[in-house]
Amino acid sequence: MSMQQTLPLPGVAPERTGGYRRDHLLVAEMVRPGSRVLDVGCGDGELLQLLESRGIDGRGIELSREGVNGCVAKGLAVVQGDADTDLVNYPDDAFDYVILSQTLQATRQPKVVLENLLRIGQRAIVSFPNFGFWKMRLQLLIGGHMPRTENLPASWYDTSNIHFCTIKDFVELCEQINVKMERAVALDLYGRPVPLNLPWWVWNMFGEQGVFLLSRGGKGK
């Protein structure tokens, strides 16, 4: 599946529960039943299919035509497009939730994209690989080269991920553009949530990816 080359899958071998990826189940759990959802960078539509099975009205945007084809074959409504250029064409408040799963780091203007997510949707759910993860830090500190992991195997010169950030960076961006963090979960290398009551620096060290439920206005954690 070509999607795996451009959109890294979380977890060494993404753990599945009932046939679904754990991070997808986590995202699905954040979405209220009966709501309208836009999945930006929806790949072959696995998450959208999970959401629709729960009575959620889903739409998708996907860059690759293979992905779009797979979605259409599943009966999903998916538009071939690019998060950087096409989100501006969606009207305000068109969706209850806009999901950006493992795609933020591949956008040209993450800040603009994030602002668009919360213009189009009442809420946004964003997940991204955490560059503050201890394995990443160790590679740069000890190895002296750009980190590569099982989930992010591309070399610096051929990766599509051009805007890596850490959980801490992302939290700061949210504060800067006045985005409220309603829920934050860090997942470890196996897609398991890092215990809730630990401080940010632990998440930033041991979270392999961050999953955030965001809404407009107010100050974050």
């Binding site: 035509r65 779009v68 084809n69 074959a73 009966g75 999903l76 409504a77 998916v78 538009v79 009207p91």
Partner: protein, 401 residues
Amino acid sequence: MSNVRPIPSPQTQSDDRAHEADHPSSLVAKFGMDQPLKLDCGVDLAPFQIAYQTYGELNAERSNAILICHALTGDQHVNNIHPVTGKPGWWDTMVGAGKPIDPDKYFIICSNVIGGCMGSTGPASLNPANGKVWGLDFPIITIPDMVRAQAMLIDRLGITTLFCVVGGSMGGMQVLQWTAAYPERVFSTLAIACSTRHSAQNIAFHELGRQAVMADPDWRGGRYVDEDTHPHRGLAVARMAAHITYLSDAALHRKFGRRMQDRELPTFSFDADFQVESYLRYQGSSFVERFDANSYLYLTRAMDYFDIAADHNGVLAKAFAGIKTRFCVVSFTSDWLFPTSESRALVHALNASSARVSFAEIETDRGHDAFLLDVPEFLEISRAFLLAAGKARGLKDGGQS
């Protein structure tokens, strides 16, 4: 310049074509004086007839009907030998056993558009008022008029809701008009290489074609049938110009390059030295065998007038407000007649209307005509969309079989 050969006269006698215009080798739905077609120009057209072909069978629930809308120079002969040209149906890549639109699964309908020349009432038909060919006395028709006539045919066939309305180019315009005019009667649509309004460039190309027809002295102000002539040179030139717009620079280069036609060296004349010239002349001369010149004027005009947003206070999204129809919009990378940007504008409007829309841009160098050709990725997504929609419609295996 002894080598210059004019475009040949059509081999088919215009009598054959004229016969098809009133007595088509197709099914015909006749509508009497009591059932006029209310045209946008204000005329009530009555009586009139619609020529159509069907393939496959309507299921007991009447839920598996697909309406195919043909393009500018197409007709109802989608998947059978053409009665005038003797060639296979114009969409046998898409329609047929084992193809995405399979007569074993669906009840397939295709009608000649109103204004056409293959059996539906148009300028080539006889005007019952005086027993002469309509010619330019025929009222101006629009894309909404074509769709209104199709809706009357669908009523006649006892079908309330179409499973899918499918079409490319002018056919795609009809598809979109169906969803704007009769959203509750269309379960799904496949709109290919089309737009919600004709662009200035496209109107310009159509005007070029019309002027070529009218500049032919044999056109006789549209009364060529009465005067026993046919503006085949003008119509052929119109077709040649239009045909270029259906292709792409890359496709022309790949197919012909600068290769010579049956010769090594240039003849230093205006003969068709290049293969591409020879090909275009063939396209022009074969077209005039099967198509009526006035009909070409009327149908190009209908496309020019098409602008869905204009009928909804300039806001395209209003045309699709609250629509439940499933849309699949497809464009082709090398199509410069109906470029992807036009399809995207449609998709944005559908998004703004919360419509259930999928969109894919197919990578091909074959230009606008790609929708008529064997482009596997395009056929693949069409098949996938219809099967998934069929499932949602409750069709068994996407159809009755």
